[in-house]
Assembly symmetry: C2
Homo-oligomer: 270 residues x 2
Amino acid sequence: MNSSIHPFDAAIAFEPQGEGQWQGHTSAAYANMVGPFGGVTAAQALNAVLQHPELLGEPVALTVNFAAALADGPFEVAARPARTNRSTQHWTVEFAQQQQTVLTATAITATRRRTWGADDEPMPAAPAPETLERADLRGRVEWFRRYDMRFAHGFFPPAWDGKERDSLTRLWVRDDPPRPLDHCSLTALADVFFPRVWRRRATMVPIGTVTMTVYFHADAAQLAATGSGHLLAQARAQAFRNGYFDQTAQLWNQQGELLATTHQLVYYKE
Amino acid sequence: MNSSIHPFDAAIAFEPQGEGQWQGHTSAAYANMVGPFGGVTAAQALNAVLQHPELLGEPVALTVNFAAALADGPFEVAARPARTNRSTQHWTVEFAQQQQTVLTATAITATRRRTWGADDEPMPAAPAPETLERADLRGRVEWFRRYDMRFAHGFFPPAWDGKERDSLTRLWVRDDPPRPLDHCSLTALADVFFPRVWRRRATMVPIGTVTMTVYFHADAAQLAATGSGHLLAQARAQAFRNGYFDQTAQLWNQQGELLATTHQLVYYKE
């Protein structure tokens, strides 16, 4: 790896294979327990749209469906503008391995104009990141080491004792090494939470995200202004039922601006 | 229209055109200001999956992207199982008019097993539906008349005076005439809220939903048990910024069971 390239940029880089087609690779730097960290996979799906020569505007919404576990190694990427309007564009994306679909995604990009605006979900109070200790996650999965995480509420349960509690987590998080925020890294950050069911049940059951949606409230200029500082990331579940739970989450910058809201549905066993 | 068929079933019915292909029609009974009520369009996208001969299991997630305004009349529907696993299936759906894509969607279906479960978003207190007056929405758009709506909080602002307030709405809602709940009608109900920006700003600006996601926490048996009673539906926005706002919403049955959580991103002008 070229040491002047941030590991995240190396992870989401593609080799062009023709119009709207690329080859991507899973990244050892963002390895999960099995296969890659889903946040980077989601960022790669967005990056396919952003690399496309017909791109109009900036991302406003992304939905990524994890159809199968990615095997470590290369995969084929295809992105297509399904519909281009005056100021919005609708995208479909697919990843394949061994000619089998492993991921489907849709995205919407748009040219945005300044309008009236307001945040209806205020940033919750939390101690400043400098006053919190960085979580020591060495020895766990590799991708944890690519993020500086400082938990303000809802870290891993103190014991895996099956004692039920709330599903809420709040943490400050940024790339490590620091990297100026953009829509791809924000997408990955939207998947940074450990499984809500582990917190809720204090029990480590097998899980897997099946679908994830990100709504981008910030444009590129606002992300650039945010820079490489910590974001306050908050996640909780609304329902756990018969093998699936949802997660609803928000990411604010230190100025209290809500940059993205995100949701996912996660499979869990038992 | 056959008077023995519920208008919702008539609205989402398709004419088969070959494997995974159908013709759908917009429905005058569910007409919006311009074109059809998006909730019925979303239900039609789900119905394409449910009609497919290769269907595995029941819906757990649906994302519908409204790529262009549907013109009143027929449209072409195509659904494809992109990936079939042991207990989950990933779907892509597209609608076209005049050979132009007007809608893209993805869905996930799954066979569900009984597991540990919990609701982390309790049903808010609200007066019983019988104690609230049905909202008189005659003279507004046609599709409003297909729903019995009883607002417990956050009806239309008392005056369109630009006075800012919260973006929260809570209402009891069911099909009119009553119809036993299923995943298609629940999908439509997930889009039943008037635009959050109208409530927040007390100003009627032009809007349009660009994407909508539904997570189904209830299986067919739980929906059948819910029957045709009112659901408590709650929606609010988290951020309004530069032409787009999000909506996060929940739907409970009268027993307090969270049946679905849903999110959308909505374009607004000015």
